[in-house]
Amino acid sequence: MLRINNLHARIGKKSILNGIDLEINPGEVHAIMGPNGSGKSTLASVIAGKEEYEVRQGQIVFESEDIAELSADERAHKGIFLSFQYPVEIPGVTVTNFIKTALNQMQKAKGEKDMPANEMLKRIREKSEMLEIDRKFLSRSLNEGFSGGEKKRNEIFQMAMLEPKLAILDETDSGLDIDALRIVANGVNKLKSKDNATLVITHYQRLLDYIIPDFVHVLYDGKIVKSGGKELAFKLEEEGYDWIKKEVNQNV
């Protein structure tokens, strides 16, 4: 589904990704872990198509198509979803209005008509119930005055509504208390299928107790320096990242 080859990216003059290789197949859950500043969020943004980042080398191939030249909205239309670490506020635009606009733009990109209002409402009801979202929440301005937990839950709600092929969860666990974490993780698990894939980006192993990864990759200094199964996450949780740093430095 997603194949990243030797990806190098920078912002301004600062090089952040220094040769990433990653392959994700349908039905898989991958986790990317790594210390602060290792390039985790940058990787998420670059896959999603944020223009501030300059891809200097390498390819991002999504469903056999090189998407490096596509704009962020075009990538979204192809089925790439990013759950933001810090979702932005859009004052005056309700959660419902926003998701309705997004969904209909997706429909349009596929050459389909707007989703009928009753179908839309049904879907909103279903997905908000799954994520235990209060009806009143849906008529609030997008992310304005939301608690950390509400923001993240809203991200997963949008993901549930848009049904992406590849969902990238960027630090979705940050700012969540344990109950919210369980609800969010539950939602993500329910949305999993053999046809879609999930890329979880996290600093802590905690989230991976709920969303069990098939593969864990360690990102350090803009490179994936170690890959393994979920046991790698446990080791990182117990021993921290120092041993990784040591290993990398020894190899240099």
Partner: protein
Amino acid sequence: MSKYTEDDLREELKTKEYEYGFYTDIDSDTFPVGLDASIVRAISKKKKEPKWMTEWRLDAFKIWQKMEEPDWANVNYEKPDFQAISYYSAPSGKPKYDSLDEVDPELLATFEKLGISLDEQKKLAGVAMDVVVDSVSVATTFRDTLLEKGIIFMSISEAIKEHPELVKKYIGTVIPKTDNYYAALNSAVFSDGSFCYIPKGVRCPMELSTYFRINQAGTGQFERTLVIADEDSYVSYLEGCTAPSRDENQLHAAVVELIALEDAEIKYSTVQNWYPGNAEGKGGVYNFVTKRGLCERNAKISWTQVETGSAVTWKYPSCILKGDNSVGEFYSIAVTNNYQQADTGTKMIHLGKNTKSTIISKGISAGKSQNSYRGLVHVSSRAENARNFSQCDSLLMGNQCGAHTFPYIEVKNKTAQIEHEATTSKIGEDQIFYCNQRGIETEKAIALIVNGFSKDVLNKLPMEFAVEAQKLLEISLEGSVG
């Protein structure tokens, strides 16, 4: 608002040139250019006005001659040459119609193009129309229905003839001839406009609506509107404007006077979409308008405006809160793009006790435009317990535009409570990226953000106007982000 779909918007956005930039070829009865006392007399004669009106105009002309064009507003433009304007232009040979069939088909086609066909309007939502095209009212509908309730809704020229006592009593009482340069000019040469009277205790059953349109090359438009709500009455009045695209600047200097007697309420909503000039700042309408309302005891006046057009706008719909417990409201969205300049706001003059005013202003600047809010809250020494709440928000798009706020507060009574809030924000790349990531393309993302920003004011508009206003916001900002 639900009927307007994204597809409609998409269609709209495809049209990059000014939407309503077409020109209707109608035979006009146009005066030679220039202005002196004889032109003023000729206008009055042409309109078969009584002597008192002619004198009133001449007096205004004398006052105007002694005045100087103001330059305190935060706008730059080439001052109009008042001797190069023709002061009267009427669709010729048809003073009045009984039915639409008699109206010039080309004119009807123009309305069709604007999406406001009279036929449709007649059927729709009980909207009565007094259509003003180049200064003379050519069609008035629903008048009979209104007359049953004793409501008078006609052109001001007709009102001068048919209800001189009302016009004489109220014209120039809220905005005197001496008020300002453009008000004086308007008083001397006003061509036509609307007159509305709601009798005591009557609630006007429909939104009264006027569409203005500048149609003749080089003719200034000097509209005069007078709305009188008698005691304990209510009226909602809609004013919407479009103009054909033209290279030379066109001057528009309207005067609107509202009078709300005891316990009366007037809602006055405007959507202004005159030609803003092209992307290089050439052409466009000069919109120098004086609008003011007077509130007697327990009366209320609400101004709501959506200003997206004109090259230069200079406009401060105001309320004189004369009576005790009277209420004034001002809700405004002003959008400027390319080289547009807007200096707009309100004046709330608190004279009576327990008077309240609310100001909500949303300024959106894009391109190389300049957008200023200028507002005055004045509390006189006799105005016990006056209250005002003001909120002025500015939204900037890009790095070359400007947003300015000039709030003036004069309080002469210690019991007053005045609150002023102001914010300035920019549409962030993060917001756009967030929308993009959800599959929302950039133009649509901007429309969404701008509509969200303007929501508090859009909500104040009557439904059918709100849809139009939303479309206008989107059209006027297209191409503003690269």
